[in-house]
Amino acid sequence: MTLEQVFGLYNYWVVICLMMTGFYIVIARKNMIKTVIGLNIFQTSVVLLYITMGKVTGGTAPIIPPEIAAQHAESHGHEDGHTGHDAHVDHAEHADHVSEAGYEATDAVVHHGVEAAEAAELIYSNPLPSVLMLTAIVVGIATTALALALIVRIGEDYGTVEEDEIQLINRREQPNKRAS
């Protein structure tokens, strides 16, 4: 095992450590609320695992800078495409080389060149894991709410939310149906 491997994989190991902590809480603790807390920890760790896979070294969040996005949106009508700061600079530089008559015709071409260069320089991290995990988080809170409602209901009926005590009560009340 090399040091490079350790630095490349430490994030997975930490996430697995968190995951196993959640798993331990789920299987070792008999209190139902604690079990739901363990499930929550497990779920957050899975989310973290997916998010770490989407990271690119030197990358940035997958949000296109407003100048580039605005230029893209308005690239067909180039009369109002002068909003970006960089576009102004390029505009001035280019005016030195191009005569006044040919200026309007080349304007759109220059803009396209600028935005392509800027887009190529930026590295974006992967947006796909983010999207999948957004869905997972929201579904997770839905299941958590349902589990907690069931726990409240069980607590009202049995007077306890400890699994072993509930099993004891069940055995005492229904000795014949122990197998079911």
Binding site: Q5, G8, L9, N11, Y12, W13, V14, I16, M20, T21, G22, I25, I27, A28, R29, N31, I33, K34, V36, G38, N40, I41, T44, V47, I51, T52, G54, K55, V56, T57, G58, G59, A61, I63, I64, A69, H72, A73, Y124, N126, P127, L128, S130, V131, L134, T135, I137, V138, V139, A142, T143, A145, L146, L148, A149, I151, V152, I154, G155, E156
Partner: protein
């Protein structure tokens, strides 16, 4: 790098203290802290959308729901009777298997990993002409390319909300018979 390691250390410490602590109130608070630390790490990992959602849902709504449950179902956890040895062994074996599985995974931040090379450039490049310059690619993906996912997610939340209401309403009418039973304020 160091900020990241600091947050990861705090995450592990928080998780272990949740596992050890007996007071459920404190455990719920630690869960909120855990979610918030996770959100911080997600922000470093270039996923601000997920970080916002995790901070709002994981650290906010989830903590709120659990506190509501604690108020209705009791705050103290009884000491576990059985030995923790068997769960520890199970967890250890599972963790070791998972760590063995990560050994040939692509390294952290590798731009040439299959996750990055298969589908991502097309999404970032295509979302610009497709969405008429919408800056946030995650929004474009969530709302359009994977719109059916989001629709299904909405259906799941709706179903869960109805189920929570049904479960809790039945308890207030049949078990106690009085209309003044405090209902849990979820959904």
């Amino acid at each position: 790098m160091f900020v990241s390691l600091f947050i990861l250390t705090l995450l592990v410490v928080t998780a272990i203290s949740i596992a050890r602590i007996r007071d459920l109130w404190a455990a719920v608070m630690f869960t909120g802290i855990f979610s918030f630390l996770g959100a911080c790490w997600m922000l470093i990992l270039d996923a601000p959308d997920v970080a916002f959602t995790e901070a709002a849902v994981g650290a906010g709504i989830s903590t709120f729901l659990m506190l509501g449950t604690l108020a209705l179902a009791g705050k103290k956890e009884k000491p576990t009777k059985g030995s923790p040895l068997v769960p520890l062994i199970v967890v250890g074996v599972t963790g070791a298997a998972l760590i063995y599985g990560t050994l040939d995974m692509p390294h952290f931040g590798d731009p040439n990993s299959p996750v990055q090379t298969r589908i991502q450039p097309s999404f970032v490049e295509k979302s610009q002409p497709d969405m008429h310059g919408l800056p946030n690619v995650v929004t474009a993906l969530l709302g359009s390319y994977r719109g059916y996912d989001t629709l299904g997610e909405t259906a799941v939340i709706f179903t869960a909300g109805i189920a929570v209401i049904l479960i809790l309403r039945r308890s207030s009418t049949e078990a106690f018979g009085s209309g003044s039973t405090p209902k849990k304020g979820s959904k």
